[in-house]
Amino acid sequence: MLKGGAVMDVTNAEQARIAEDAGAVSVMALERVPADIRRDGGVARMSSPEKIREIIETVSIPVMAKVRIGHFVEAQMLQEMGVDFVDESEVLTPADEENHIDKHAFEVPFVCGCRNLGEALRRIGEGAALIRTKGEAGSGNIVEAVRHLRHIGNALRRLTILTDDELMSAAKELRAPYELVRIVAREGRLPVPNFAAGGVATPADAALCMQLGAESVFVGSGIFKSTDPAQRAKAIVKAVTHYRDPAMLVEVSMGLGEPMRGLDIASIPEAELLQTRGN
């Protein structure tokens, strides 16, 4: 039951406690937040079992953890450890550059990232129970998550005005499963919840994503790379609740210290973009 809340990246028990106390609806267990993965380079993989167990034992809220795109054995292990949600994540180095995990084969639910409706429907077709935008993780820059939220919303609205006999062609262009396209065209929304992720650094960013149609937000580097993580974490939780109330947003944004510095997307070499991984 994650809607209307904030899911926070944590790398140890102390951070997990800070997140839970701040009102996070879930924590994402990681070795390093995306900004540090980006900085360090090298291959980024699933966290160690000890780390994940440590975090599961610390909090009473659901715990998520990431696996490399296509690494179904990392997913089997996380399912075995009792993780509540598996994030098949472009933040880690892909293990399969052509195929994602067959998520229908698992009991544990998966969340996958997307940049547009076609990607979202391909992931849902594979069995994703939850979708999030990719944004540009670790950049502290909301522009990409906004781009992805708008692409999805726009494409959903366009689908609803097509006639039934135009849907096969729409499915072809989206490169998405036809049956899902039919359902989505009829309903005007995805068959699973859609959360925002990638670059959320301030309460205003979180509220922006919610106003653009996201049902919850993931916050990665944005919390623990800021100067006062506990305060910022609380503020972001409040901003997600009061996302349409500017007076509340102003109030919660006061006294937070400095947000993470972040990166201009144009300064990231194309080969280093995370959002292009998995498609």
């Binding site: 039951m1 809607k3 209307g4 399912q79 949600f85 009991e107 639910p109 309903e187 939780v237 609740t241």
Partner: protein, 210 residues
């Protein structure tokens, strides 16, 4: 059939949108509640499922506990689902959150395990007639103690209660807002002063949220 009732849905976190949608589909106004002033003029309140620690924290932060307790004390209908049930309880087996103590029941959080242990179960619910209700349990709590003034409306096959009523307060471990069967919402609307619930009425599928 149009009723002018105005039912609040606590919207600080969780699946308030689903509850609002079902309420509208049964013909009442649904009002999202995020601050005490949003409780004015309501005929009843639903506390939805979500994360109980988040719910508890935000309710305390925004001074919602006392006004909600007053609403219940005035005899208005209140219904907690899943995390909402945890908040209404008198005591829980875990250290947090601190429940509001409005219903004389004891509750255990995450009684069935983690996300993978979520399940669905057909239940007979007292007052809803002979047709079973398809109940969805997600990281669900269970009722461990039932006070004298509390009626058990439904139990699992192993006997553990999962739906209870005390006066005009109701609590369910499962998520009626996630199924198309609106009977429990209709029953709640009758508690809130709406038309009496008719167990023989034909089931109408609630259309999906748009």
């Amino acid at each position: 059939m149009f009723v002018q009732l105005n039912i609040g849905v606590l919207a600080v976190q969780g699946d308030f949108a689903e509850h609002s949608h079902v309420l509208r589909s049964v013909g009442v106004t649904a009002t999202e509640v995020r601050l005490p002033k949003h409780l004015d003029g309501l005929d009843g309140l639903i506390i939805p499922g979500g994360e109980s620690t988040t719910l508890s924290r935000l309710m305390s932060l925004y001074d919602l506990r006392d006004p909600v307790a007053e609403l219940a004390a005035r005899g208005q209908a209140v219904w907690g689902t899943c995390a909402g049930m945890i908040m209404l309880a008198n005591e829980i087996t875990e250290e947090d959150p601190v429940p509001m103590g409005l219903m004389d029941v004891g509750v255990q959080r995450n009684a069935f395990g983690r996300q993978v242990d979520s399940f669905e179960q057909n239940l007979l619910i007292q007052g809803l007639g002979d047709r079973e209700y398809h109940a969805i349990f997600i990281r669900a709590p269970v009722i461990t103690r039932v006070g004298d003034a509390v009626d058990v409306l439904a139990s699992l096959p192993d006997g553990r209660p999962v739906a209870v009523q005390q006066g005009k307060m109701m609590a369910t471990s499962f998520h009626p807002e996630l199924t198309a069967d609106a009977r429990i919402h209709r029953y709640f609307v009758s508690l809130a002063g709406g038309p009496p619930f008719d167990p023989e009425a034909p089931l109408i599928d609630t259309p999906r949220v748009r």
